[in-house]
């Protein structure tokens, strides 16, 4: 029942390390304005973290603030605040919780004040809403806005024209503007060095996510995955801290594998692995634990997810490349998950279903995100058709608590798991 004593969450060293990294970053954000360090706000998909570090810019990620606020159950109020100030009920709630936070004094999720940005780097990857988001933020701060337009991979490939366009923007617009804003001269070698670090962490990340191919899987690649991607999708890609974090995490998972253990859940070890699932779509952050519990209570483990690819798709070979730094940044931006065409997304999911020996697919469709959601029902059909495996469709939101109906979600999941079980029983017989 809901009033059961909260359980002590078991913390592994990697978790503690990550928590420390996040806290430090929020702290450094909170003092940036006073200490005269320049701040850049930017988005996760297609972020240019290594490049920003070259200009000593402190990186602030509005999406991360929104999701952290969501996990701390603060977004309901923030969203209402934005709506009271004229935002529509219909639009992306990431935007609204960010605007709501700004309206309420820009106090970040950890309670630390967030700084006023000196520059908005609008890398417009995989979503049109980003564009409006920073236009709205710009209304509040009189600061420079850099638009990096990343074309869409409509035909499932990166053409030379697209790459040239992005590279040119980087060289002739983004870098010169950042030099001007930060007062720091661009140094290509510094960039190369950061990118070398990135590639190391990326190798480990891929190993970690692919460990789910084992039976039982030692990780949950969605609910757990959300934590694993934290550092590399944000302010830490390219830092030694990130490299170290992924090394530690990999060690822990190697140990779990050796012990034949399943994933760690907030309530301790996972029980028997009954269903292996692939998840498409984003998490729900306001009821993250509750949602996860609906899975692990039934023995359902997520073995692969697309959400862990929004900040970069690394498992098909792409790495940040110190030998072609600007070009590889362009390819990175162009290659993020939501910049892929629908057919490409479907192919990717079908591969996951097969490679990770999944029993089914769960799509969590969120109201906020048209970039993810528009077309998911066709994806569902196609994937069912191609793999012969049943799929479930759930509707929630990223950070709007009004759109999480526990009873509704549970009803669907319960029916879905009972159905998988019945099917499994028949197949076994």
């Amino acid at each position: 029942m809901s009033n059961a004593a909260p359980q002590d969450v078991i913390k592994e060293p990697s978790m503690l390390k990550q928590k420390e990294m996040i806290d430090t970053n929020f702290k450094s954000l909170s003092t940036a304005n006073e200490e005269g360090r320049k701040v850049c706000s930017t988005f996760v998909p297609g972020n240019l973290n290594e490049l920003l570090m070259c200009f000593d810019l402190v990186r602030n990620f509005p999406e991360i603030n929104a999701l952290q606020n969501g996990m701390r159950k603060k977004t309901g109020r923030l969203i209402m605040e934005a709506e009271r100030n004229g935002q529509s009920e219909d639009v992306c709630t990431y935007v609204k919780s960010d605007l709501g936070m700004m309206l309420q004094g820009n106090i970040g999720p950890t309670g630390d004040k967030l700084p006023d940005p000196d520059v908005l780097l609008l890398s417009y990857t995989g979503c049109f809403t980003f564009m409006k988001w920073f236009e709205l933020v710009r209304e509040h701060y009189d600061c420079e806005t850099i638009m990096l337009h990343v074309p869409y991979q409509a035909d499932g490939k990166i053409t030379q024209n697209m790459r040239d366009y992005v590279v040119k923007q980087l060289k002739e617009d983004v870098i010169p503007t950042l030099e001007r804003v930060s007062g720091v001269k661009f140094d290509m070698d510094r960039l190369r060095q950061y990118m070398r670090e990135s590639a190391k962490a990326e190798d480990d990340l891929v190993w970690i996510l692919q460990s789910a191919k084992n039976k039982p899987s030692p990780i949950d690649a969605f609910f757990g995955g959300v934590y694993y991607i934290g550092p590399i999708f944000t302010a830490f890609r390219g830092t030694e801290a990130a490299t170290e974090y992924y090394r530690t995490l990999r060690g822990e998972i190697e140990q779990r594998l050796a012990n034949g253990q399943g994933p760690v859940t907030p309530e301790g070890d996972f029980g028997k692995e009954r269903f292996r699932l692939v998840v498409e779509g984003t998490p729900n952050y306001t009821n993250f634990r509750e949602f996860w519990k609906m899975f692990y209570d039934e023995g359902a483990v997520v073995v692969a997810s697309t959400y862990t690819k929004v900040g970069g798709v690394y498992d098909f070979g792409f790495r940040h490349d110190p030998d072609h730094p600007i070009e590889s940044l362009a390819d990175y931006c162009l290659g993020c998950y939501t910049n892929l065409s629908l057919p490409a997304r479907i192919r990717m999911l079908c591969n996951y279903m097969e490679d990770y020996q999944a029993d089914g697919l769960v799509i969590n469709s969120v109201k906020s995100c048209n970039s993810f959601s528009a077309g998911q029902l066709l994806m569902l059909r196609e994937i069912e058709k191609r793999t012969g495996k049943p799929a479930a469709f759930i509707e929630t939101d990223l950070v709007d608590p009004r759109y999480f109906s526990a009873a509704n979600v549970k009803n669907r999941l319960e029916s879905y798991f009972q159905m998988l079980q019945q099917k499994g029983a028949i197949q076994a017989a």
């Binding site: 069912e384 049943p390 799929a391 669907r412 029916s415 009972q418 159905m419 099917k423």
Partner: protein, 445 residues
């Protein structure tokens, strides 16, 4: 005898099915869902068990020559008389509760007048009751809440007018009382009530009074037979709140799929439109669910919508379909928001459209939504089975058949008059299977 019971606690109605060992349905019961889920489940089950008794009566009276070949009409009369007895009992309870609730702290100086008005209202209600349960009578519904409610309001308005008492008072007293009344389970035994009903029946069939003993004995015997509730399974919207352990609960999707399969073994696609949800289910040849889709978090276009419309038009639910079937013109209706249904209706009426045409448009709108959900679940395959309360509605069925033909061609469409019990039937089947599985396991070891 061993009985397997399935209970489907829906958002508007609660259904129960009783099955014997041979997977034969021997009883069905239905009641309106209400705030006390246990009561709803209990009442539905009692009703199903009662229905099972009638099934037994039929068997035991089959050979009784004294009935002169009029067994069917005799039993029908008995059912009506029994319903009347039940109704009168609850009406008496309602009167008592209303009178108690018409207290001076709320109604002050008007209390005495209100008491008089109540007495008059119930006098009239009691007087008209037998006619409502006469053969061929047209009742608004079969649930006490609905019958008593609609008649109380009508009679109440008259009486309030005559007594120059605000109608709101009369209404309020009823509103305060009905929850309590419907959440009380009668403590009178079934057989006492049945015996009284039997007396009534013999009055109607006075020429058979000589046969009285020949009839009473087998009825008594059937009444005395124990119906053992061997295994009970609950399902439906409210299943999680049933006082059952986890093994005794099944998802409503699985139950609807299996129920439809049991009724029509060749079913491939099932559509269920209930009070606040619409489900499209694909099942395999063994009755196992392969895929399903439900409406999202908006209850537009579900059964309750029809309820609002019926209320708005001051009609019974079962009168809507027939009226809509009289339509001669197409009216396109796009919004199926349940709450705005009334406004939409008024809007259209004020534009001069005919009631039946609007109604037909509304039914088509509901079915259009269902068609989308079906399409989302993978489309309609042969055979198609339509279940849930709305399957009782002829206009909805007509619209559905038309749309299926337009979009999928000629398919076999199954609609059972008892389709509202599909979920409960599935649950009862699961109950029967659970015992089999237990037995198989026991045997295997």
């Amino acid at each position: 005898m061993q009985c397997f019971v399935g209970i489907d606690l829906g958002s508007t109605t609660t259904k129960a099915v009783v099955m014997n060992e041979d997977l034969q349905v021997i009883g069905r019961g239905i009641t309106n869902s209400r705030s006390n889920y246990d009561v709803a489940a209990e009442v539905a089950k009692q009703e199903a068990l009662l229905n099972a008794r009638f099934y037994l009566f039929r068997h035991s009276l089959d050979g009784v020559r004294a009935l002169d070949g009029r067994l069917d009409s005799f039993l029908d009369q008995l059912v009506r008389d029994f319903r009347l007895e039940q109704f009168l009992e609850q009406l008496a309870d309602l009167e008592q509760t209303c009178t108690a609730n018409a207290a001076p702290d709320r109604f002050g100086a008007d209390t005495a007048a209100l008491h008089e008005a109540l007495a008059e209202i119930f006098r009239r209600l009691n007087r008209e009751a037998p006619a409502q349960f006469a053969a061929g009578a047209n009742r608004k519904s079969d649930f006490f809440r609905d019958i008593a409610g609609s008649r109380y309001l009508a009679v109440g308005e008259e009486v309030a007018g005559e007594c120059k008492l605000p109608f709101d008072y009369v209404l309020n007293v009823y509103d305060r009382s009905i929850i309590d009344v419907e959440n009380r389970i009668s403590d009178e035994s079934l057989s006492d009530k049945l015996m009284r009903a039997l007396d009534r029946t013999f009055i109607a069939f006075d020429d058979l009074s000589a046969a009285s003993d020949a009839v009473r004995a087998p009825v008594k015997a059937a009444l005395d037979m124990t119906l053992e509730e061997t295994y009970v399974i609950g399902t439906g919207y409210g299943r999680a709140r049933l006082p059952f352990s986890k093994e005794h609960i099944r998802s409503e999707i699985l139950c609807h799929g299996l129920g439809a399969h049991v009724m029509y073994p060749d079913t491939a696609t099932v559509l269920d439109i209930g009070g606040q949800d619409t489900k499209a289910i694909q099942v395999d040849p063994a009755g196992i669910v392969e895929n399903f889709q439900m409406n999202d978090r908006c209850a537009a276009g579900c059964g309750r919508y029809l309820g609002y419309i019926a209320d708005e038009m001051n009609l019974g639910l079962h009168e809507l379909g027939p009226l809509a079937l009289k339509s001669t013109r197409n009216v396109r209706i796009n919004s199926t928001c349940t709450v705005f249904a009334g406004a939409e209706l008024r809007d259209r009426l004020s534009l001069g459209e005919a009631r039946e045409d609007i109604l037909a448009g509304l039914h088509r709108a509901i079915i259009l939504r269902a068609m989308s959900i079906l399409s989302r679940s993978g489309g309609i395959r042969d055979q198609f089975t339509f279940t849930g309360g709305v399957a009782n509605n002829g206009a909805a069925v007509k619209a559905l058949k038309q749309l299926i033909k337009e979009n999928y061609g000629d398919l076999t469409i199954n609609i059972d008059p008892d389709s509202i019990y599909t979920g409960a039937l599935g649950a009862a089947t699961f109950a029967r299977r659970a015992i089999e599985a237990d037995a198989a396991q026991a045997g295997g070891h």
